[in-house]
Symmetry: C2
Subunit: 225 residues, 2 copies
């Protein structure tokens, strides 16, 4: 389902080149659940952004559901993201002027759902992350972990097949983090493909496979059940 070959991502900073990704070849099967680990700055978010069609590689190939992503224009990428991908950002990226419920409804409106359906689906996912009593708060009126949970709810509202989660429990206490992992586990058993960046071993253990990155490269891959 997801295949990248010799992918690089370079940033030119004056006379220097930062090699955020330095030649990555990977493939993920449909319905698999991967933990992506590695030191700070090793390229995990960059990899996730490219897989989530939010960024394009400097070189290399990305095949997603048999489509060569480089051949798709920005509108087609945007369409794939809206319909098939749920992205949980490391820094949440909530819209500060919108309430919690509006932040989660937004992708549903873009998908063409009417107001009532959008409101219903948004309320359902917010209930799953236990934020039903914060629906009309703005992001600045929430705790860090509550903002993280809004980001999680928003990513799941469009029932995506492909979930990309960048440190989804980084701001959550252990108990709430476990609830989120139970939720992701349940979605994975429904057949969804999940790629999750995490630095916590107990969280990584919920995934069936794991890979470690270092300096923009894959250092090791661990299969499993």
């Amino acid at each position: 389902i997801v295949q990248i070959t010799d992918v690089t991502k370079h940033y030119r900073m004056g006379s220097e080149v930062v090699r955020a990704l330095d030649g990555i070849t990977l493939s993920f099967e449909q319905g698999s659940f991967w933990a992506i680990m590695g030191p700070s700055g090793s390229g995990k978010s960059t990899l996730l952004n490219i897989l989530g069609c939010l960024d394009r590689p400097t070189s290399g190939k990305y095949i997603l559901a048999s489509k060569d992503v480089a051949q798709l224009d920005d509108d087609e990428l945007s369409d794939i993201r809206l319909k098939h991908i749920g992205f949980i950002f490391q820094s949440f990226n909530l819209i500060p002027q919108l309430t919690v419920r509006q932040n989660v409804e937004l992708p549903l409106f873009y998908l063409g759902n009417d107001e009532q359906t959008s409101a219903e689906k948004a309320r359902k996912t917010l209930d799953l992350v236990e934020l039903s009593d914060r629906l009309d708060h703005k992001p600045t009126e929430l705790s860090g972990g509550q903002q993280q949970r809004v980001a999680i709810a928003r990513s799941l509202a469009n029932d995506p097949d492909f979930i990309l989660a960048d440190e989804p429990t980084g701001n959550l206490d252990t108990a709430t983090g476990q609830q989120i992992m139970d939720l992701l586990g349940a979605l994975n058993r429904q057949g969804k493909t999940i790629l999750m960046v995490t630095h916590e071993k107990e969280i990584a253990e919920h995934a069936g496979h794991s890979l470690h990155m270092r300096d923009g490269k894959i250092e090791s891959i661990r299969g499993g059940t």
Copy 2:
């Protein structure tokens, strides 16, 4: 050194009242190292913001180094923060238009240091968090964990006596997180008082004391060596 009595923090949302802090009485001795834990939304960041003089309680008393903080005006609070407090924010709060080095130099300029001294001190703390090769990047050109480390460096640049850290390792891999904890441990042994919010048990174990919050109240306190 730090004493709060019956502190509350309420937010009025329409007809509802959110009790972020619901009657907190605590005292922290000079040179102690506390871990503050509790579920998402239990009031940890709110408590830290009040202790760091970034926010005022709705009611209750806050005595800091024998001063009644309620009696100080905003300029005096700002002065205390600049000279004595190092605050590491849960969401970093870096200035996006400034580079890494400029973000860390800023408080040093405000303290009256000249350009050369500020540049030197900033470089030193950035070296401690291993970001010497990112000095001229802007925050958007950094990974999440690198942004967190800039926030840490900035909080330590003015050599504060009182360090308030809100999830300082939330975006760091285990090895880098341990380095930061070694750094905080060393500062604590120099006599600095450290209050650290964390949800990770291994991180909390670096502190001599811990307290757990729930629903804006203190649920339990654990002393120790």
